[in-house]
Amino acid sequence: MKPKTQEQLLLELEDLRARLDEAEDTLRAIRSGEVDALVVSGVGGEQVYTLKGADHSYRVLIEDMNEGALMTTSDGVILYSNRCFAEMIKTPLERVVGSMISTWIVPDSQDILQVLLLQDDTETRRHGQITLLASDGALVPGHLSTNILQMEETRDLFGLVVTDLSQSQRNMALAVSEKLAQQSLAASSQSRRALLSVIEDQKRAEDELRNLAADLKRSNTELEQFAYVASHDLQEPLRMISSYTTLLEKRYKDKLDQDANDFIGIVVDGANRMQKMINALLVYSRTTRDHSPLQRVDCNAVIEDVKRNLQLSIQESGAIIQADPLPTIVGYPVLLLGLFQNVMSNSIKFQQGTKPLVAITVQKNNTHWIFSVKDNGIGIDPQYFDTIFIIFQRLHPIDEFPGTGIGLSICKNIVERHGGTIWVESEPHNGTTLYFTISSQLKEQ
């Protein structure tokens, strides 16, 4: 997996947190009856989950029936009320929702209410006679039936049906309508439960993503530390091999035959190569460890610096370097210098006796600068277009083209730290054009 910067991880985490808050708000809103629908981002885009779709018919039934229908918490907080109940107690609906059911019941009936709202698994349906207290002080005799609606959340909800007994003609229909109403409430609770499980799934997925992000960050840090420590600790024994072999050669050259001297040469050469690789690994790990601030960088000045650093090989090869006027971009100055220097030194190095021509151009799209570095060198077989960006992968024998084979993997690392990509276009013996992009959205720090 591509290493992510701490900034990227923090942004992702922030995004996740916001989405979680949103989901929790929605959950709260659904519980309190404020909203009827939930929009969930899914693989196939956004999906709308709606209560209406699921229980529209039940709702109409409950809204229009002549019984009071309520949904309360076990504490007695009214989460939902139909219009009929609000009318019974002569109170606007918006003041009913959120109030305590006990507010609307006379003191003498409170004990009965307590019993009816008991959380008891053995008996989910109960009913009793109570007297309602309307907001104008009027007393309304009523029949209250309660039903525990099993919810998987932290607490149970109760479905309540209140029948106005002052309308005695309704007594006959009581049993039938009560049953119907309870069924409706149960069905509605079921669709709410489905919604809750959707939200929970999303929450779980977000938790997982958050854990993954933390894991990734940890393993990136460990990898950097590993490369750094390994590079240092590996140098010690290497120095011993190299130094003592050379000492052996110095002291005993006259006493040894040609073979022995050859072998010593091979050991020293191997140790020196290994040391260069360790140093390259150090540079590689530094490109991920470098936490210097993002700054404005004039790419023309970078090219001039590179030319100065590569002065010797430019002179020796007679290389000609042409660069378009380049922009000032925001990036990590040291890393950008390393990037251009690696790419340009490859263009100068991978030649077959021809005078190197290196042309640097730039274009811009909405999001990125697109740089290209074109040369007239030996080219690359398309089958190796990916391999060349892997650490220590070499395409040529070391005596043909020296080097550790880490340069382009360092470049890839640097480009990715600048929110870009790197790729190559080439054919054997026909030059190579290396492209890389740098995000134009980076901000100075």
Binding site: Y228, H232, Q235, E236, L238, R239, M240, S242, S243, Y244, T246, L247, K250, A271, N272, Q275, L282
Partner: protein, 147 residues
Amino acid sequence: MDSSLQVQPITILLVEDNPGDVRLIKEVFKDEKVMNTLIVAKDGIEALAILKDPSKVIPDLILLDLNLPRKKGLVVLGEIKNDPSLKRIPVVVLTTSSAEEDILKSYNSYASAYLTKPVELDEFIAVIQKLESFWLSVVKYPSKDTP
């Protein structure tokens, strides 16, 4: 070194845990005919014990490795530079690490110089030669008799 120009041999304390490195420095000193007294401490604690032992000669120069067991080189450096009787002794850090932070921390702790040990013997010899010509021949030390 031309013996007619022979300066007073100085005493060097080498703080180095790797026997290979100790031997290598000794061998190079021998090849380069560097005349001095070399005391070796295998780690930071031993180094400080030697420095604080009144029966031992106080060295003129300390060569300090950073990656030491028990007490790290930078801690040893800090303790030397905080000790009024030792702080005048030049400490040359001689280490494998070329990490910026190690270099910076060493100078911030008043190291006199920071040298990395090259892998190639010839380069290592060159470093020892320069070390020798500067710290052992050029630099003037306080007289042993002055308190």
